[in-house]
Amino acid sequence: MTDIAGRIDAANQEALRRIFAGDPVLVDVVPAAEAIPALWERMILHAGPPVDWSRMCGPMRGAVAGIAVFEGWAPDLEAAAQMAGEGAFDFQPNHHFDAVGPMTGMTTISQPVMVVENRAFGNRAFCTINEGLGKVMRFGGNDAEVLDRLRWLRDGFGPAMGKALRSGGGIPLKPLVARGLTMGDEMHQRNVGCTGLMLRALSPAMAASAGDLKELSRALAFIGGNDQFFLNIAMAMGKAIMDPVRGIEASTVVTAMSRNGTDFGIRVSGTGDTWFTAPVEMPEGLYFPGFTEADANPDMGDSTIVETVGLGGFAMGAAPAVAGFVGAGTASEAANFTRAMAEITLAENPEWTIPALDYRGVPSGIDIRLVVETGLAPTINTGIAHREPGIGQVGAGVVRAPLACFRQALKAFAGQMGVA
């Protein structure tokens, strides 16, 4: 009994060591096919644990149809949807290919992906470029405007950003996130500070390598005009940090939380690559004009990887405004979200601290035992997609991870450890 507890403690210490030792650096933007050699024609990576077309929610179906047209696999959205129903596409989770994607999380061969390298462990993680707000593919949008923007990201913006990054040797992300936390970002709903810092870091090199000033201006305006530009970088960073934590025998630390709009799934270090899933929950939040909760799709996206590393809902105390989506929206309530997450995590990040909480570190290393014992589910800050395909983002809010995932994981873990 004590022997098992001791083994778990030692394994979790190793997990924490790997989390805190991570050294994520944004190094490149390359076509997905180059980053992920296993990607092939008609293969579509999506957010969350595995899901097939028959169980996909509306916005994910909308995104699938849109990306199929974008890749030239279907002449139009209707044909694309029909092909999907007939099994023409190979659906796989991003997480199985070192990748993550926000909301619907579409990743296909020709899309540009940002590359974050964890220099402490040598692994890389990938994420597509954030498209902006409103009608965008990650929220299920798929009309001509959406597809045109994706083409520009592929042909113009992506290559320019990649070139700039390669010329400068990469941008270390850990110090950048530490500064963002002092500027009111929590890296899920709030990325204003980090987006500004990223723009500051990128623009000299982008200007130096620009061929066309108008194109450069458009690229810089695209970053500066999108408060969430940094989100996808933070996600690739989270994936790059957490992947080396996978597969530590006897560790109860969560290595991924992810949702596909139908199921919520978690992976735990000590139970390897098994997904423990439960139905996703509905966020509580605020809606854009013209929309209500009746329009909302349940929780979706790989973006919960930022909560897995201690940001997002876990760092709510750094971004009091985000707490306004629920409750009274006071700064003290925001701080309490972070304090509550400290109840289910093993340590505080020594480098990512929150000034308003007397420089407490963000709560890191979610322990499935603590989640089950306290009944406190991880808090997740999230965007909200329309439930129908093709419409896009309708709001934003806060949601909980389903406790059932953690109970299942703990049961499986106990079985593996030989505890009845």
């Binding site: 004009p289 013209g290 306004g324 989506f325 929206g329 006071t330 309530e333 304090r339 603590l370 306290t374």
Partner: protein, 495 residues
């Protein structure tokens, strides 16, 4: 009738988007408003407003640094009213809204992280979970006070054995009273610190003895509750023995008082043997027990009052205050209605010592159980499980005693109604008021004499002297202690 769209642009006013979404929600909920939004006038936001049918020529002219208020309402008056309300929200001071949210840890682990020098955990959770929480506490190096009851006996034993190995103290289960380092826990009183340490299996017994010691000029080092079953044969006094050892080591403690029902001979022998070895004077009060052999450093007493007197070094009261007890012609019955179980037991001991016949729902040795005899003075413990099932304890809700009091006040055969009033943390804010109202409301021409005592101190939230005045104003005789109240009742029917 067609809808009216009304926009207003506030130049150069920036407000956070989430705050604006909250405002939007409240404006959209106003009468006659079909849709409303407050947004910064960025191109993307203007697009959203346009798609939502909210944008007019005014809003279209906004730039990214301007705030747009956009309303669509059923008529112009409604739109204008909504606009006024929106501007009011924008201009109201957004200062502090009171105290802010308070943080309370949800687990022992988080509580200990917040208070690293904590040494004790008070556990009050449903009985099925109490032992699990207590285990976590003792394994973290904390002593545990378990307020919860309904803990399986076997689990209590296992827990206390583990605590002994870890050198930790488990108070309870069902421990309602303790004072540790001057801090009253659960049902306890605010008293000066001093040299008397108390170990008690009963809450009200500890309260009465500790309050009397304070009133006699003494003070309490620690009052340690061990739970009602600790001195039973199954547990065998594990926590009592641990508490004796701790008080033996404690520098502040110069005298130890032990309070309990009479344990079995085997447990008595074990506990007295340990008490005899602590090197400090001990006063033993096993209420209802016969005189027994004591170790050299120990002395046996038979009431809580005598325990307090012994503890402060007064062997016997020199000039006990005696009231003028009015003559009660032709009536002989005493009815005791107690909220404290040990106070009921002490009153029985006092009456039995006066050779009166006593009946009780919680009889001590020598008293009869209710139903066994018709005559005999009836002393009831209203905190007994039979009375509190599905109802609050009479210490929390004095109205539980209201019915029996009113009934007694109308009983022509009764000479004396005897009652206790227990105050302090956890108790009702005004128990004397409750008793006084029940007594005065039901007092007839041939009502019994009412005698009571107040267990507590002037430092308690209810203030003992104020509680005494409330009783006296209702014509209730207030004795300085529960034992005195019982003695006065005994004298009244004996006279």
């Amino acid at each position: 009738m067609s809808a009216v769209i009304l926009n207003r642009v506030r130049k150069g006013l920036y407000i956070d988007s989430v705050a604006l979404m909250r405002f939007s929600r409240s404006i959209a909920g106003l009468d006659g408003v079909e849709e409303a939004a407050l947004m910064m006038g960025t191109p993307a936001n203007l697009g959203i407003l346009k798609d939502a049918g909210l944008l007019d020529g005014t809003g279209e002219g906004a730039s990214g640094g301007d705030l747009v208020v956009a309303i669509r309402a059923s008529d112009a008056a409604q739109a204008e009213a909504a606009l006024v309300e929106a501007e009011r929200l924008l201009d109201q001071p957004r200062g502090s809204r009171g105290e802010g949210a308070v943080w309370r840890p949800r687990s022992l682990r988080a509580a200990v992280a917040q208070m690293p020098d904590a040494s004790l955990a008070l556990i009050s959770v449903p009985g099925d979970f109490a032992v699990a929480e207590a285990r976590k506490a003792i394994r973290r190096g904390l002593h545990a006070m378990i307020f919860s009851d309904n803990v399986p006996l076997a689990e209590e034993v296992a827990l206390k054995r583990e605590a002994t190995e870890l050198g930790r103290l488990v108070m309870g289960p069902d421990c309602g009273t303790a004072i540790i380092n001057g801090v009253p826990l659960a049902f306890a009183n605010r008293l000066p610190q001093g040299s008397v340490g108390i170990i008690g299996a009963s809450g009200t017994g500890i309260q009465e003895v500790s309050c009397l010691i304070a009133r006699l000029g003494g003070g309490i080092s620690h009052a340690i509750g061990v739970g009602g079953r600790d001195l039973g044969d199954v547990v065998g006094g594990i926590s009592t023995l641990a508490a004796l050892d701790m008080l033996a080591r404690d520098k502040l403690t110069g005298h130890v008082v032990m309070i309990s029902k009479p344990p079995s001979p085997e447990v008595t022998a074990r506990v007295l043997a340990r008490a005899g070895a602590i090197g400090k004077p001990v006063t033993v009060c096993f209420i209802g027990a016969a005189p027994m052999a004591m170790p050299a450093n120990a002395e046996q007493v038979f009431t809580l009052k005598d325990a307090a007197l012994k503890a402060v070094g007064i062997g016997e009261e020199t000039t006990p205050r005696k009231p003028d007890i009015p003559a009660i012609a032709g009536r002989r019955g005493i009815r005791g209605l107690f909220s404290g179980g040990t106070l009921c037991a002490e009153a029985q001991a006092v009456l039995l010592a006066g050779r009166l016949q006593v009946t009780s729902n919680a009889p001590i040795p020598g008293a009869l159980v209710v139903g066994a005899a018709e005559d005999g003075h009836l002393l009831l413990d209203l905190g007994d499980d039979a009375y509190t099932r599905g109802r609050p304890h009479p210490m929390i809700d004095p109205e539980v005693r209201g019915g029996p009091v009113r009934e007694a006040m109308k009983d022509p055969a009764l000479a004396v109604l005897l009652a206790d009033v227990v105050i302090g943390h956890g108790a009702h804010p005004d128990p004397a008021g409750g008793l006084a109202r029940a007594v005065t409301g039901a007092r007839g021409r041939r009502a019994p004499l009412v005698i009571a005592s107040v267990t507590g101190s002037d430092a308690d939230p209810q203030i003992r002297s104020a509680q005494v005045s409330t009783l006296e104003e209702a014509g209730i005789l207030v004795a300085p202690s529960n034992a005195d109240a019982a003695a006065w009742a005994r004298d009244a029917v004996g006279s």
